[in-house]
């Protein structure tokens, strides 16, 4: 009963970090009452610098710097276990998506993570080719992050097993796709 009521309350005029996260859609950080179910099921809680319920509380308390610079937001695997089990519809996974974008915009990305570089290469590949071509993606990622030898031993057996074709497929409509990416970056405004 209380869950149903909590879910229907519209939270208005929330300021600070919580307000920004809420405005970006999906997440409801101010509904969290610290039951810690999210952290119990989180696959990376044990290794990250913060646990999901701690991040939510820090968002409530407007601890912008610590949250946006945390390693946790980049170690989250987006498995959605937290969001599925949350009794308050906080949706910590959606909250993390918003925090990642805000962390990048604010130039606060945690030093050790390669995830933003990977995401950029991934999306640029989609923009140009329409599809991901794994071999090309890995080569570009390794060049960008200078991790030339990590997992390089996997390539020969993957090639032999037909798991890494040398040439990927691509689809036409490149100029239309580029325009689509440009309009998305502008927020879909008219």
């Amino acid at each position: 009963m209380s869950t149903a009521i909590a879910a229907t309350i519209e939270i208005e005029n929330v300021g600070g970090l919580a307000g920004e996260v809420t405005a970006r859609g999906g997440a409801r950080p101010m509904s969290c009452f610290q039951c810690t179910k999210c952290s119990s099921g989180c696959p990376v809680a044990a290794r990250a610098d913060l646990k999901p319920h701690e991040v939510v509380r820090m968002v409530q308390m407007d601890q912008r710097e610590a949250v946006l610079a945390s390693r946790f937001i980049w170690e989250c695997t987006s498995c959605q276990t937290c969001s599925t089990r949350c009794p308050q519809q906080v949706d910590p996974a959606a909250m993390n998506d918003a925090l990642r974008a805000m962390s990048r915009a604010a130039g606060k990305v945690s030093a050790g993570t390669a995830v933003p570089a990977f995401n950029d290469i991934f999306l640029d590949t989609v923009r140009r080719r329409g599809r991901i071509y794994e071999m090309g993606l890995m080569v570009r990622f390794k060049l960008r992050t200078r991790r030339f030898f990590e997992d390089i031993g996997k390539a020969p057996s993957m090639l032999l097993k037909g798991k890494l074709p040398l040439f990927g497929t691509q689809v036409g409509g490149k100029s239309g796709r580029k325009a689509m990416f440009r309009r998305a970056a502008q927020g879909g405004d008219q």
Partner: protein, 288 residues
């Protein structure tokens, strides 16, 4: 019901074996799944963790071109992104309008999206599957592994019970195998961290393999290219890191179904598996 197939990028690369075995099983069942023309990448985690609008627009572009057919999906990650885009677009007029401006045409978010597991279990039905079984997988104990994105979040995917899905279990049971009860059906394997921080994948995949072994599994069955790759290809690294040796074959569920339906091994690309399954299959008297 008519279908178009959205294979997704992995099925043309690391998951070619999933692609081939899917087509082999579909052919045995008379299920027509022509490929959706000019589909584009769903955007995956890279899109939704960068820009929510782009994350809805990429799937919308493909889904709008399905021409009224149901979109059949094999990859759990594509499935999740296509379903999420539909959920956002159909549920919020403002999102629909913004996506329409980005894509350049309106899409209502109502193209049906189904995973192969749903199509085979619910639309083809277990009775028809049972009729197609030629060589039951007798004595094969399988840990059915669903991963994250088929079931979560349930209000978006509406796939099966979010904590204890059984669609794959029932399918493989129909194929004569023995699906096991085990607690890691929907734990995360670490997904695309295989490229950005493999230590996460080694830790999480090790836990899944350890639990499958503890449950008495002969093998694991998967329905997602990233899950399969992590659990199969990373077993050697896991051995080096944690000193645990599993030698646990990790199949796509379509490969096991195909074996039971009498598809030849080449059609199922069994040779693409990193952990060799042939000894196990021979020990169980399963021809391939």
């Amino acid at each position: 019901m008519s279908y178009v197939f959205f294979p997704g990028c992995s099925l043309d690369g690391t998951a070619k074996d999933y692609h081939r075995s899917t087509l082999a099983v579909a052919a045995k069942l008379g299920l027509e799944i022509p490929e959706l023309k000019d589909w584009i990448c769903c955007g995956s985690t890279a899109a939704h963790s960068t820009d929510p609008l782009l994350a809805d627009a990429l799937p919308a572009k493909s889904l709008a071109s399905a021409g009224g057919a149901t979109v059949a999906v094999a990859c759990a990650a594509c499935y999740s992104r296509l379903k999420a885009a539909n959920h956002h677009i159909a549920g919020d007029a403002a999102v629909r309008a913004r996506v329409a401006r980005v894509v350049g045409s309106d899409y209502d978010g109502r193209t049906p999206v189904r995973h192969l597991l749903e199509i085979l279990s619910r639309e083809i039905g277990l009775a028809r599957i049972a009729q197609a079984i030629r060589h039951p997988l007798k004595g094969l104990k399988v840990a059915c592994y669903y991963g994250c994105l088929l079931t979560r979040p349930p209000e978006v995917t509406n796939f099966d019970d979010a904590e204890n899905p059984t669609l794959m279990d029932r399918l493989l049971e129909t194929a004569g195998a023995t699906p096991l009860e085990w607690p890691h059906k929907t734990e995360c394997c670490g997904a695309s961290f295989s490229i950005t921080d493999a230590s996460i994948v080694l830790e999480l995949s090790n836990q899944i393999l350890a639990m499958a072994k503890a449950a008495g599994a002969d093998c694991i069955a998967t329905a997602c290219p990233l899950c399969q790759l992590n659990l199969d290809m990373r077993q050697k690294d896991i051995e080096a890191r944690f000193g645990r040796q599993y030698q646990m074959p990790v199949f796509y569920f379509t490969q096991l179904l195909g074996l039971a339906m009498g598809c030849p091994a080449e059609e199922l690309s069994l040779g693409s598996l990193v952990v060799e399954p042939r000894d196990l299959l021979a020990a169980k008297g399963i021809a391939c």
